[in-house]
Symmetry: C2
Subunit: 284 residues, 2 copies
Amino acid sequence: MTRVVTTIAEVRQIVRAWRAAGQTVGLVPTMGYLHEGHQSLIERSVADNDHTVVSVFVNPTQFGPNEDLESYPRDLEHDRALVEATGADVVFHPTPAEMYYPNRRTTVHVDELGSELCGKSRPIHFDGVCLVVSKLLNIVTPDRAYFGQKDAQQLLIVRRMVRDLSFGVEIVGCPIVREADGLAKSSRNTYLSDEERAAAVVLSRSLAAGRAVLEGGERRASAVRQAVLDVLAAEPLAAPEYVEVVDTDDVNPVETVEGEALVAIAVRIGGTRLIDNFFFTPEV
Amino acid sequence: MTRVVTTIAEVRQIVRAWRAAGQTVGLVPTMGYLHEGHQSLIERSVADNDHTVVSVFVNPTQFGPNEDLESYPRDLEHDRALVEATGADVVFHPTPAEMYYPNRRTTVHVDELGSELCGKSRPIHFDGVCLVVSKLLNIVTPDRAYFGQKDAQQLLIVRRMVRDLSFGVEIVGCPIVREADGLAKSSRNTYLSDEERAAAVVLSRSLAAGRAVLEGGERRASAVRQAVLDVLAAEPLAAPEYVEVVDTDDVNPVETVEGEALVAIAVRIGGTRLIDNFFFTPEV
C-alpha cells in the first residue's frame, strides 16, 4: 500500500528507518498529473532501489508570474493509484507552506547552463528547479534520483548542480516516452484541443528531420536548425519559440556539431508551450 | 587513532559504514591551524555523537583576490595531533582540486544576511562559505554540525541556508573561546606582533563597554555603538572597520534593540583584521 505523506519530518523518519535497515532509496521528483513518462521513471527506480519515494509537488518557485501555476493540472488520487501500481512506497505531497518559509533568503543558481533555450523565456525557472531539487535531495537523501530526458536542459542543470555541490546521489536520466504518433508525453498535453493535439505531432516530426540531416553527415548547426524549422513552418498552428543546437556541457549554441550535442525545440501550439529534443553524438 | 582522509569517496565510504551501524555523526568544519576555539567545537561534537569528522580545508572560494589565502597559516601535523587528543575519528583534508571542478557553475547565495558587517568588505566571502559548507554537509551527511559564535554572521547565514534548503542537520553554535586577557581565539592572531597582540585586547574591552550600556537599560543602537567606538578610539593601533548593532534574523542594522541583537565589530590591528561580537536579548 502506497502511503501519501505530507510533512518533511515524516519523510525523514521513514527514510531513516530504511537506512537503519541498510536499504537503498530512489527519488522520482514530479509535479504530479502523472503519465506514462513519469511511470517509466518510477518503474526504473523501483527496479533499481529497495524503496522509492515519488514527490508530487507543483513547485511555485519554478513558475513565472504569467505562467500556468494556478491552472497546472492536478489529480492526487489518480497519481496515488498510478504510484501504487508501480510498487513505489511513498508519495510525498507537501503543501507550499510546508516546503517554503515566508522569509526564505537562499538561492541555488547554476550559471550559463540555464541562460539559453527555456531560460530565455523562463528567467527564474531553473533557479526554482534547483531550489526544490536541492530540498528534495536533502529531505529524501536518495541513492538515486530519476529525471526524464524530455526536460533535457533541466537534466543537464541538475547533473551539474549535483556534481558542483557534491550531493551523494546518482542522477539517472531516462528516455522520452511518446504517444503512438510521436508526441512526447507531457502533463501539459491536456491543454490541447483536438485540432491542436493533431498539429502537435509536428514537434517530433521536425526533430526527426533534424536527426536525419545529422545522420546524413551534416555538421553545421545552421543546416540542422533549418531542417527542423522547415517542418515546423508547414504547420500553421505551430509557433516556434526556439530551435537550437547546443553543447551538453554549458548548454551554449554551437556552430558545428563536434562533441555530444542537444537539439532542442520549444513550440507554441495555440496557447500551449510544448518542448521536445534529442541528443546526438557524432562518430569520430 | 585519528585518520587523515583526503578524498571525498573515502569519507563517504567511512560515513556509510557508520550509518549502516546506526551510529550518529558530527561535523566540525575548519580551515585548520586549530586552537582552543576549534577544540571546544570538536569536544562538543565528540560528546554529542558516535563519530566526529573534522574538516581541515583552507577554502579558496571564500577568500577575495587581495586577501590572505596564500599566507593563511597551515600546520596539518599539529591539527591531526589536536584532533586525535579530542578523540575525533577523522580529519578530512582534501586538496582544492578534490573539492572543486574547474568549470563549476553552481552558487549558493543567502540574500540580505551577507550584505552587512563582514559582507561589506568581503563581497564574495559568504557565497564561498555557503558553497563549501553545502559540499561538506553533502559529503559527510552529519546529524550535527558545529560552528563557533566568533564568526557570528557566518553562523546566522549557515543556519538560514540549512533551513531554506532543508538540510537534515542540526547546526550547533558554540561560545567564543578567549585568551586570558579577553582576546577571542583566532588563527589570524598569529599575524600579530607583540605590540599588536597587546593592543588587540581593545576588541573585547570595547564590546564589554557596549554590553554594559545595554545592561544598564540603554536601547538606542547609536549609544551602544558610541560606547564601543569610544574605547576603540583610545587605542592608537586599532582602526575600526565596522561597529554595528543588527537583528539576528536578516542581519540588518537596528535603531533600537527590541528583539535579539548581535553587536559585532571588525577592527584592523596593524595589517591584521580581527572580529569579535556578542549577542544580547533584552528582557521583556
